[in-house]
Every structure is written in structure tokens, then in C-alpha cells.
């Protein structure tokens, strides 16, 4: 096996779903890479395919509804779609873990959190009962839950506490990559900060890479190294976080940044993006963003642009990317 430079390498991923109105392409050619110990944020509005991308990487798509129709997901050089059940078990849960938006529904309501932790540890790390219990207690401590809550049930814990339990479960086998799908969207702002700070501390201590899926650009700015912006199942821009915020190259990225009210200053009127995200069944022929883009011309509406690398590590899918003076 050759040594993979990227921990996660998603190449030209296409995911389609069967719906009553016929097949629909939710992810239309995503390529992204995550280096070891790196935090990559995936940003976009609802329906842009960011969660579907995460579910495909984890192999959690419901096979009756959705499937990877093209492309591949390589984890540490292994093609996850072609991996045997046994190999998958070795990777998923061990080296690759995921936390979700709603921690309450991701935990088993009839088992105590201790039982859920201990079971996971015993199954994956082959520990005996005593070792697993000790390990569970140290994990709880690590995520900031008092040891006496080991026997608590999920309904006895707050949303923030449940998310901490999910994090403890996810890191229990020392994953190399953690996928966090809107991990704090359901939480209050003060709790959100605590959970994000916890994730940040853990991933630094453990050299764990993270794929952070969010719609909140503030979260991206504070906690990610690089970001990809998605729109209608495609990447429209990819950049290191500071460059993305300083000089967005795609009109959609810039419009998103401008449309958010700023908590630190007063703006009279918000520049808004006209219209709304089109239905996936009615994907525009040319650039997906053209119908809402203030710079769109005939070419934008007729021909889909390709992603172009503008500077090393920065790519944009646009016929007329913004330069820094425009931005």
C-alpha cells in the first residue's frame, strides 16, 4: 500500500436518490481532501448536499433510497465503497467517527450513557468489563461530565450534555477523523461555545482531523483551517479560512458573507440574495448559482463552469470569479 498524503480523499463523488418525482442528484461531483489533523469546514445552506456528503463518507446512506452513483471515497488509501464488511468495521467507528446535529435522538433512550459507552469500548477495543468502566469514566471526565452521571439516562441530561456524551462515544476508539454534522446547531449559544471549544481541545490533543459541517460562517471562522462552500450539490469555492473571509472569490460566498447581520456593528440594510435555492429536480443548465447571481451573463446561464485553481489551495467554480478589488 502506498502511503496516502490525505487522510480522506473524496473524488468526484456523485450521490443520487430515488424520489417519487424520479431520481435526483443531491451531490453532483464533489472532490475534497482532508489532511491528518486538519479541520475542514463544509459550508452551505440546506439542500446543498453537505450532510449527504458526510453520510456517504460514513457509508450511512439508506441503500433503498440513495447510492453513490459515481466517484469514490478513499480513507487512508482504502476505497470505502469497495471495502469488505470486515475492513469497514475496522475503519468505521475506529478510525472514522461521526457526531450528529441532534444528540438526543442519536443516543439509545433506554440504556444509561455508561452502558452505551462501556458497550462501545468492549466491542471495539476488546476490553473486559472493569477496564471498559475505567476507560468510560476517564472519557466522561475528558468531555467534562461528572463521574456520577455514568448511570444517567439520556433524558436526564441536557442537550449540551448529550452532545458531550456523543463526543465521548465518538472519540472512544481514538479516531483519526471525526465528522461533525452541525454539532451545535440545536444548542444554545453559550453551550455551543463550550461544545466547540471542547471539540477544538480534543482534536488538538489527539491530532484528530475533523470534517466540520455547518451553515454558520462564524463557526467556520473560529474553528476551521480550510473551508469548502457548497451550493446545489457542488463545491463552488475552496480556500483557507482567512482567505475565504478576506477575499471571497465566488459571488455566492461573498453574498452569503454579506447577508449575515454583523453582531459587532450596525448595518442599515442587509444585501440579500434574490430568489431561493432551486429545487434539485430543476437544476439550472449552466452555473447552478446563475439565476441568483448579480454578475451572471449568457455564458453563465448556458455552460456549467468547472472548478479552477486560482492560487495554490484555492479553487473556485465560476466563469467570472471576483478579484480582490471587487471583493
Amino acid at each position: 500500500m502506498t502511503l496516502a498524503a490525505h487522510l480522506l480523499d473524496v473524488q468526484d463523488l456523485h450521490v443520487s436518490f430515488n424520489t417519487r418525482r424520479g431520481p435526483v442528484v443531491a451531490v453532483a461531483g464533489i472532490s475534497l481532501q482532508v489532511a491528518p489533523a486538519e479541520v475542514l469546514a463544509v459550508v452551505g445552506e440546506s439542500g446543498c448536499g453537505k450532510s449527504v456528503t458526510a453520510m456517504s463518507i460514513m457509508g450511512l446512506l439508506d441503500p433503498r433510497k440513495g447510492r453513490i452513483s459515481q466517484g469514490q471515497v478513499l480513507f487512508d488509501g482504502h476505497d470505502l465503497d469497495k471495502a469488505s464488511r470486515r475492513q469497514l468495521d475496522q475503519i468505521r467507528g475506529h478510525q472514522l467517527a461521526m457526531i450528529f446535529q441532534d444528540p438526543m435522538t442519536s443516543l439509545n433512550p433506554v440504556l444509561s450513557i455508561g452502558r452505551q459507552l462501556i458497550e462501545t469500548l468492549r466491542r471495539h477495543l476488546k476490553l473486559d468489563a472493569e477496564q471498559a468502566r475505567t476507560q468510560a469514566l476517564s472519557l466522561l471526565e475528558e468531555v467534562g461530565i461528572p463521574a456520577q452521571r455514568l448511570d444517567a439516562y439520556p433524558h436526564e441530561l441536557s442537550g449540551g450534555m448529550c452532545q458531550r456524551v456523543m463526543i465521548a462515544l465518538a472519540i472512544s476508539c481514538n479516531p483519526r477523523l471525526l465528522i461533525a454534522d452541525e454539532p451545535t446547531t440545536a444548542l444554545d449559544v453559550t453551550v455551543q461555545k463550550q461544545v466547540l471549544d471542547l471539540l477544538d481541545r480534543l482534536r488538538r490533543q489527539r491530532d484528530m482531523a475533523m470534517l466540520l459541517i455547518t451553515h454558520d460562517l462564524g463557526v467556520v471562522a473560529g474553528y476551521a483551517d480550510r473551508a469548502v462552500v457548497m451550493y446545489l450539490g457542488q463545491l463552488v469555492e475552496q480556500a483557507p479560512v482567512n482567505e475565504l473571509f478576506a477575499a471571497p472569490a465566488h459571488p455566492y460566498t461573498r453574498a452569503l458573507l454579506n447577508a449575515m447581520p454583523d453582531i459587532d456593528q450596525q448595518n442599515a440594510r442587509l444585501p440579500s440574495i434574490a430568489g431561493s435555492v432551486p429545487d434539485l429536480h430543476e437544476r439550472p443548465v449552466g452555473c447552478a448559482f446563475a439565476p441568483r447571481c448579480e454578475y451572471a451573463d449568457a455564458r453563465c446561464r448556458e455552460q456549467p463552469p468547472q472548478a479552477v485553481e486560482i492560487t495554490p489551495g484555492r479553487a473556485v467554480r465560476c466563469w467570472k470569479p471576483l478579484n480582490e478589488t471587487q471583493a
Partner: protein, 319 residues
């Protein structure tokens, strides 16, 4: 005599009896909203912020009598509307409308948009004929940026943002003076959120509306509000003008909230020292367990509202 402000809320409370932990123990009372008071002038927006469970939505609902208050007054033009029998409340209710978080759930899925918009007119403006009502519906849809022809469609045919426009049109149907907007944009995507916020501001200017703007997003509240009240566990802990509250927050809870918001631009972050755990004190300040500035006094007496600068109030012993 000076005319009273549009809305004066005095000591508004909502208490629920908590289920008994044992039949041997006395019933305890949960104070979901506890002694909330504020004024709102015509044409102004008051932002109500706080985390989930702080009582901000309950407050909004009690103002419109969608939820009966346990005690307190809601004065509209000086008249306490909570004390009125329902029949006499009706003309006031017309002037006070609500916009909800999930416009999909608040529209009848079997009614066309026009039917949903006509309903308040039939109840409150029965003098209007059929043609006049249809005209008003078309006018309302255009006001919120939709087309008159959209009236013939059903709610599921619209996107979330369009449905919120319909929710706003329905709230406007009876020419209200006050609209209580409960998390009107929190279910919407960023690109659509700004459209709705702009629409609400345009309508405010055009009709001289007053808003109670309830939200958990502090940036959105700053953008929309003239004054802001911060709620914590059923009480207002700080209130002031937009600039006072965001420029010089006085209550430790407000400071914590503002410091917790992830910023797009790097700001100077003062790391918050973890607060040592402490037992809850009954009768003391509700924020004591999370407060970095607590003192023995905070455990003994609940702080009262103090005016720390003109029109800037905080309920904290150390503000």
C-alpha cells in the same frame, strides 16, 4: 396629559405547578415568566433575547392572550387588555398580530393561500364583501413580494421563505399596530433570512409598525431592534438601547452571551475562566451558578432592576 406608549407590560408572570416528586412533598411552582415589565412605543422594535427556556416565547404569547397570564398587566394605549372579557378584547386583538417560527405549521395545508389570508378578514372585518376581500388579499400578497396569482396555491407549493412571507401577509391583514414575531427567521437559510428581515423593516417603515422581535440570534436582534431586553430564567436581567446593550453590556449574563457568539472576524477574546460549581441558592440571583462575579450577597438577595445609565437597566448587584 401625555399619551401612554402603545404597550406597557407590568409584572407579567406565568407560573406552572410542577409535578410533585412525592405526595408527601408540597407542590412546587415553576416560574416560567416572573415579573416581566417593559414599554414599547409606536414604531419601535423591542428585541427579546435569551436561551431556550428563558420565557421569551411565553411572554410573547401572553401579550396576545394566546396563553393566559398568571398575573400582571398588558396595557395597550393605557388599557389593561388582560382584564377585558374576550368580546371587548377583540378590537385590541386586531391591532396585535403574531408571526411564528414555522410558517409551514401555522398555515392550514388544505386551504389555499387566499383562503388563509381571507380568514382574519371574515372574522374581524365582516363588513367587507367578497370582491373587496379578494382585492385586499391580492394587495397583501404584493406587499410581501409575492404575486396575486399565488393566492390560488396551497402552502406546500412554497419554499420556507415564501411561506414566511405568507405568514407576514396574514399578520398584516387587519392593519395591526403591533406584531409579535417569534423567531421569524430561525428556520430559514442565511440567503433567505436577509430577504425576510429587509421585508420586515420595509413594512415597519411603511406602516409605522411596532415589533416585539423574539430571537436567539444576537446578531439578528441587533440588526432589527431599537431596544433589547435580555431574559434569563423568566426574568429580564438587562434592558437598554441597542448601542448600550451591545456597546457596554452590564450584566454578566449578557456579557457571556455576547462573548459566546462565534465571530466571522477575529475579535479580541478574553478567555472566560471556568466558574467553580456552587449549589443553587433559593432566593438569590438566578444566574449565580454561572456567574464569574458572584459574591455572598448574590446568594442572599435577588438583585433588583437598577438604572445604571439613562434608560439602561440591569438586575445585578455588581453591574
Amino acid at each position: 396629559m401625555t399619551t401612554p406608549p402603545l404597550l406597557q407590560v407590568r409584572e407579567l408572570s406565568k407560573h406552572y405547578a410542577a409535578p410533585r416528586s412525592s405526595w408527601l412533598k408540597p407542590r412546587t411552582v415553576v416560574k416560567v415568566v416572573d415579573g416581566v415589565s417593559f414599554d414599547l412605543a409606536q414604531g419601535q422594535t423591542l428585541g427579546l433575547v435569551g436561551e431556550s427556556g428563558s420565557g421569551k416565547s411565553t411572554t410573547g404569547r401572553m401579550l396576545l392572550r394566546l396563553l393566559p397570564a398568571s398575573s400582571g398587566q398588558v396595557r395597550v394605549d393605557g388599557q389593561d387588555v388582560l382584564a377585558l372579557p374576550m368580546g371587548e378584547f377583540k378590537p385590541y386583538r386586531q391591532q396585535m398580530q403574531m408571526i411564528f417560527q414555522d410558517p409551514g405549521a401555522s398555515l392550514n395545508p388544505a386551504y389555499t393561500i387566499a383562503q388563509s389570508l381571507e380568514e382574519p378578514l371574515q372574522v374581524h372585518a365582516s363588513e367587507l364583501g367578497k370582491a373587496e376581500r379578494a382585492e385586499r388579499v391580492a394587495q397583501l400578497l404584493e406587499q410581501v413580494g409575492l404575486k396575486a396569482a399565488h393566492g390560488q396555491r396551497l402552502p406546500h407549493e412554497f419554499s420556507g421563505g415564501q411561506r414566511q412571507r405568507i405568514g407576514i401577509a396574514r399578520a398584516l391583514a387587519l392593519n395591526p399596530r403591533l406584531i409579535v414575531a417569534d423567531e421569524p427567521v430561525s428556520a430559514l437559510d442565511v440567503s433567505v433570512q436577509s430577504q425576510i428581515l429587509n421585508l420586515m423593516q420595509d413594512l415597519k417603515e411603511r406602516h409605522g409598525l411596532s415589533y416585539i422581535f423574539i430571537a436567539h440570534d444576537l446578531a439578528v436582534v441587533r440588526h432589527m431592534s431599537d431596544r433589547i431586553a435580555v431574559m434569563y430564567r423568566g426574568r429580564i436581567v438587562e434592558s437598554g438601547s441597542r448601542d448600550q446593550l451591545y456597546g457596554s453590556p452590564a450584566h454578566p449574563y449578557t456579557q457571556l452571551l455576547l462573548a459566546s457568539v462565534p465571530r466571522m472576524r477575529a475579535t479580541v477574546q478574553t478567555p472566560q475562566a471556568p466558574v467553580a460549581p456552587i449549589a443553587a441558592a433559593s432566593g438569590g440571583c438566578a444566574f449565580i451558578q454561572r456567574c464569574p462575579r458572584r459574591s455572598p450577597l448574590c446568594a442572599e438577595a435577588a438583585p433588583l432592576q437598577r438604572e445604571i445609565s439613562p434608560q439602561h437597566w440591569a438586575a445585578c448587584h455588581h453591574a
